[in-house]
Subunit: 435 residues, 2 copies
Amino acid sequence: MNTAAQSTDQAVDSVDAVMNRLGQAARRAATTMAAASTAAKNQALLALGAQIRASAEALKVANAQDVNAAIANGLAEPMVDRLRLTDKVIATMAESCEQVAALPDPVGEITNVRRRPTGISVGQMRVPIGVFGMIYESRPNVTIEAASLAIKSGNGCVLRGGSEAIHSNLALWKLVQAALVEAGLPSDAVQLVPTTDRAAVGRLIAMPEFVDVIIPRGGKGLIERISNEARVPVIKHLDGNCHTYVDEAVDLALAVKVTDNAKTQKYSPCNATESLLVHVAQASAFLPLIGKVFADKGVEMRCDARAKAILADVPGAKVVDATEQDWFEEYLAPVIAVKVVDSLDEAIAHINRYGSHHTDSILTTNHPNGMRFIREVDSASVMINASTRFADGFEYGLGAEIGISTDKFHARGPVGLEGLTSMKFVVLGQGEVRT
Amino acid sequence: MNTAAQSTDQAVDSVDAVMNRLGQAARRAATTMAAASTAAKNQALLALGAQIRASAEALKVANAQDVNAAIANGLAEPMVDRLRLTDKVIATMAESCEQVAALPDPVGEITNVRRRPTGISVGQMRVPIGVFGMIYESRPNVTIEAASLAIKSGNGCVLRGGSEAIHSNLALWKLVQAALVEAGLPSDAVQLVPTTDRAAVGRLIAMPEFVDVIIPRGGKGLIERISNEARVPVIKHLDGNCHTYVDEAVDLALAVKVTDNAKTQKYSPCNATESLLVHVAQASAFLPLIGKVFADKGVEMRCDARAKAILADVPGAKVVDATEQDWFEEYLAPVIAVKVVDSLDEAIAHINRYGSHHTDSILTTNHPNGMRFIREVDSASVMINASTRFADGFEYGLGAEIGISTDKFHARGPVGLEGLTSMKFVVLGQGEVRT
């Protein structure tokens, strides 16, 4: 007992030592990255893209170790798939580095400069946050996404990928380090946690002296655990229980097209619609139309009594009674909750109560109703006459996305380069003093 | 033992019950506040100003209870002073409500709207954060500052003032409630914790379901405790170890005037300069000049060897050897740390290592040096040729200030109305779908 406890203590100590070393190195390098020129950062990104292309075979060899181990360990096929560095994934990683290089550099931009009565000019300068920690699961391409956004935004980062992808991640990380060196930037700026020991995560989220913010990507369990235990801010992405609300006055063809897209274009993304609310005045006209679409695509409808009364008549429709829990659910599957509401007020109240503050859309021809909806629905993205599936950093023109925040603090919705920066005040004077 | 433990449990339970009720009421009212018109919010603010003026005598009666108790309890005179609602303090509170009414309403503003290739328009709308919790010490006027900023920014709030100001705060809070009702707004939007039980603070900072962010104002101990224990984000204001750096090329008269102001205009504010760095090329010219000013004003100088060698010759100068700890110190007193540095690089490195990321200023005639300083010094406010004393919400034109953040996350530097809001994405479409 005593010996086992001691050796555990030693193992924890050594993980802590490793994490401290990584954190310290990232923190030191971040100072240089914050002052790096746009040219140097872009050079590193282009070098990284080129190295990924040139190292495709070596990457596949390293990746094969992970894939074979995953198969041997009986990992489910979809998980193994997410792990694979195919030629297509490798080409996409290289392209994404070049895309990030082409984005405008957010760092150093000075805005909102105004002259004050005292004579000083006050403005705000965008600067890197410092060091971010990223915790993610099997996909090794996230290593390159995170590294390239760190480089462009002038931040340091400490990356902790899934243990099942460790060989792939180490191989990718070596390329990142080489690219930084090639551009004259500190290779320490991007750190990869080399151990698969879970204690490393515990330390990563609790060292404010080295890491300023944690960005977790993964399942709800992982993110909740990290949010509860972190000693630094977390850019959280919890579930996406997204709503489409069909208003009293609506273009029915538009409503069918957009609702169909929002639910069925892809079932797994967090921005797919999970709940459909329909104003009572449109229920008997709209529900049979969308019900037929859902019946044809095999989408199960979990309905309140009024929706069920209408949808039960649609040939082939899978109609089920909704439970209270259904209004909270993120199905990520061919299932949708359906409810008839009496008013816009009821729709807004329902969304704010049961939704996850991710993305919600109103389909309406009524301008005041649309404006009330986007003002009063308390979600990261609110939409009028558009598919919830648009809630995405690329679709929004952010150029790249490190995550989608369902928090209200700092960054809300898709988080791009700007979300990895903060604004400091700058004061330009000519010797002014305070009186 | 058993009985004592039980009654403690019951007391804690009942504080929890009180806090839950306040939190729930604030959360519910915040929804209405978020959608309130600018006119209604301004009406409430003007009504509050008028009520404060009309209730001056009643406020002084309530305040006398607190002041008498404080004197009876042997509170130090400066603390008793901060507690007093004098005619002047009452008039200033009323005016501040009118000033906040005159500020532009940040809520609902839509910016950055851009058309995307898919046809959708994407922009960002400024919305309230929700409910903030504010924890502060003796000054009862903070109750009105916080309430008026909550009203204007469309947030709910839960206020927890110092126990020594409880009668004054309750009297002020009644006026806030009446003003909200007069404007047709929910009186629950502004809550005041009615108990002086310290367990209330523990609950306030740990109920993310009701309170979105905590803003503490007070001593370092209070803020550190809250930061460590809070389960929601905290807008932290830790110390202000502000630096003035006199560069290699400088207008000596300007440097003396600004350094003098930064240190001696007032000793107690967090934006007063605590450390003076001087480039070696200016040390023998500049230090005797500022040394004479400090000697005349009785400011003690804690010096490194090179600064001491020069300053020791200034008649009447109080010159002391600096210890390592002096470079970290926030004196809030007629004391300044003085160090000669060999380069801009050394100055920046020193500030980033020993400073508190609050406010730092370079005095220089060299443009590239000035730009490097404001880019590379990692502080909430960075200045060129201006007194650090300008770091203040009113001086920056924010109109009002709820605190100064030394964090990098969300809000940095003086926090005004905008710091109490967040940006959500809005998408305006005409039936677009994702392909």
